[in-house]
Symmetry: C2
Subunit: 209 residues, 2 copies
């Protein structure tokens, strides 16, 4: 199936088949794809939290309006953006560049200064807004990668952010629950899989200049 | 090539081959993929602006720090999020649902109220932040779709937003330049294509609970 066929196949899954689990091998392949997501300067200012623990997921469910996917999907992924950062974000990245590409870190000093001049003067709120957008690039890629692997997904913004952060203990690490993705396999009883996909007509969504 | 191979093949292209153009057919396929991007409630609160006009692109270039991709790539896409909206966003969507799925719009009244209760009480700033994140899902999907089609891309956040909005006349339509994507084919002189890809180690990026 083509990329577009996969996008047509996918839908926001309302009912997962709770007896079907994503295999370890497929999960790792999906996480490899997520790890390859582009981000601004390549900084990846977020964490990908994969939650299998059923007790924890039952605790999180009420904080997501009791939506059944929280406990019935095979896996729950929380994309958590860094709400704040200092120069270590850039320095750690350039250390990685240095090791990966075998370049002395001193040779990257100019690039380090450039990135720091762009990022470190942002307010904390601007930093959090920017890192959250980077997490959403990963979200878009993750949903497409899952569709390619015939794994069903439901991205979810309907949750109490403070409760999620509290239960997952994210705030102490300057992390914030940006968005959830539940993943697994659609239940044959999920009627919504048969609904025709609704998208804006291209001539309304797209402008050519 | 697999999805992951494609993600490894792609990179943020610094120099495009200005003699190579994306064909009309490929561009339409790419825009089909972008149109299929998921968004919250399916509302797609953004526009995809495809800019070919070389005069306009030359005007925009100084507002993007003079980066060469603006004029040398085959195409420039601006993802522009709606900075404000009223109930028409929901009503237009449900009109589309009604027509696509052949359901009387009256039957969707409950869903309309639900969505409006979630969205219309947001402040204008919250609305703009939320619509921008939806545009970033489309960005993630667009970059992956292009890689699948062996089209090179460079996503770009380095530009003067106000100047872009002014030159493109977006503000009058409550639109805002969220992010740019330049698209085309890599120049064989772009040394960065040979650099080893840098990503956080999985054990650092990903937490399993």
């Amino acid at each position: 199936m083509s990329y577009i066929d996969n996008l047509n196949w996918r839908y926001a899954t309302k009912k997962f088949d709770s007896t079907k689990e994503i295999t370890e091998e497929k999960l790792e392949a999906l996480l490899d794809a997520a790890t390859l997501s582009p981000s601004s300067y390549g900084l990846q200012p977020y964490k990908i939290i994969v939650i299998e623990d059923p007790v924890l997921r039952a605790r999180l469910k009420p904080a997501a309006w009791g939506q059944s996917q929280l406990t019935e999907a095979s896996h729950l992924i929380v994309l958590a953006n860094q709400t704040d950062f200092g120069e270590e974000l850039v320095d750690d990245y350039l250390q990685n560049v240095s090791e990966t590409r075998n370049i002395p870190v001193e040779d990257l000093a100019g690039y380090a200064s450039f990135m720091k001049s762009k990022l470190l003067d942002l307010t904390q709120e601007e930093k959090a807004k920017w890192t959250e957008k980077q997490a959403y690039i990963a979200l878009g890629n993750l949903l497409s990668a899952a569709a390619d692997m015939k794994i069903d997904t439901c991205p979810m913004e309907g949750f109490d952010r403070e409760q999620f952060n509290d239960i997952l203990g994210l705030s102490d690490d300057s992390l914030n629950t940006a968005v959830l993705v539940t993943l697994g396999y659609r239940s044959k009883n999920d009627e919504t899989q048969h609904y025709k996909k609704v998208r804006k007509p291209k001539k309304q969504l797209i402008t050519h200049i």
